[in-house]
Amino acid sequence: MSKTVDYSDEQLTAYLDGEMSGQDAAALERALEQETGLRDRLERLRIDTEAIRRAGDALLDSAPAIPDALAQPAAEAPAPRAFRLPAMAAVALLCVFAGAGLTKLLFPAPEETWQDFAAIYHALYVANTLNHIEQTEAAAEAELIRVSGAIGKTIDLDELKSGPLDYKRAQILGYKGKPLLQLAFLSKIGAPVALCIYRSGDAAKAAVAAATLRGLSSATWSKDGYEYLLIGGTDQKLITDAAKAFARLI
């Protein structure tokens, strides 16, 4: 009676996956030669992993098209007009995977504003991006102080909560090396809405003006050296009214 090591299913799996060290694998192979029971157990764990890999690869063809916003040129990285090799490779991949965004990548808009950038970005938001966020009053307050400080501004949490939009969170994004403040909300029907604030240093004052950016309702205004964008959903009246209220408060 030869005494053999008792192998666990995990070890047998590691052997089948080529994850066992050479020495251990050799020992296991010797044991397999002697023990039918062990061989049976190994066979009961054997599957065609190559078939799983191929089935998984075939699945890639069914992947949904990449959201247009992801295929947009970055506002803060004005690519040279000349065709560079990596850019061409990226374009080739996009053609294969998405079939969209080609002209946008090859011919980026020469003068993209921070509002365009924020709109592209916001177009990626879905209700799920925000609806899990539940902050305590104190946490929301602390976050707001930290984040609004980045653009040298003080914003009162109550002001953000006073309107019809459900306030979710504040975070700092960046545009051309300068902080861009994003305050995120959900509308009553679950549309993600963002109030974006950028310090322009330009003293010019502009009243609330409505516009459609990237298919989203938006409103822009500026005052005291800051530029503002409220964007989200397709209810232009909601956005314009909320923008007017924010313009008074903030």
Binding site: D48, D57, L70, T129
Partner: protein, 171 residues
């Protein structure tokens, strides 16, 4: 430095997107939820881009982030909102676009993989589909290597029973 990290992430995401979606399918078990999660994960990746270290693997970084996002935030929310997880029979695995016979075969294999419990399914996809080593899978999923091994051995045991001899031998 931060800018180059941001560029790497932004330029890398489009090519990676189909694989992100496939990984989300393994996490969520539903094409619709996979689409939403993939999109949310990309937003997240862009937001956190400055934390990415260029020269490391973008796929693993995004997968790790996606899995945390799903487990910590969105999974519970999906259940809470009554969109229960799975009913796997209802999962309509999309046509894979190859010839009809291999299409059918791939669908059968995928549906068996998709019927595995969540944790096993996602580990199978990382190791057998993405080709990750145990160590890479463990790091991506934030679990010990021993857990990767036990998930895979449990999955193998189920799949070996579920796949008919023809399904096991083909391919």
């Amino acid at each position: 430095m931060a800018k180059s990290a941001h560029d790497t992430v932004r330029h890398g995401l489009p090519a990676l997107y189909p694989r992100i979606w496939r990984y989300c399918l393994a996490l969520t078990g539903s094409p619709d939820r996979a689409r939403d999660l993939a999109q949310t994960a990309c937003v997240h990746a862009l937001e956190k881009a400055s934390l990415f270290e260029p020269g490391t693997h973008l796929d693993r970084w995004v997968f790790r982030m996606t899995q945390r996002l799903w487990l910590n935030d969105l999974r519970a929310e999906t259940v809470r909102r009554g969109k229960g997880l799975l009913p796997i029979e209802e999962l309509d695995i999309p046509d894979t676009g190859s010839d009809q016979q291999s299409n059918l075969f791939f669908k059968q294999v995928l549906s068996k993989v998709m019927s595995l419990p969540d944790a096993q399914r996602v580990t199978v996809v990382l190791v057998y589909v993405e080709g990750y080593s145990y160590k890479e899978a463990a790091e991506t999923l934030d679990i010990p290597i021993g857990t990767v091994m036990s998930r895979l051995s449990a999955a193998r045991s189920k799949l070996a029973k579920a796949l008919t001899p023809q399904e096991r031998d083909a391919g």
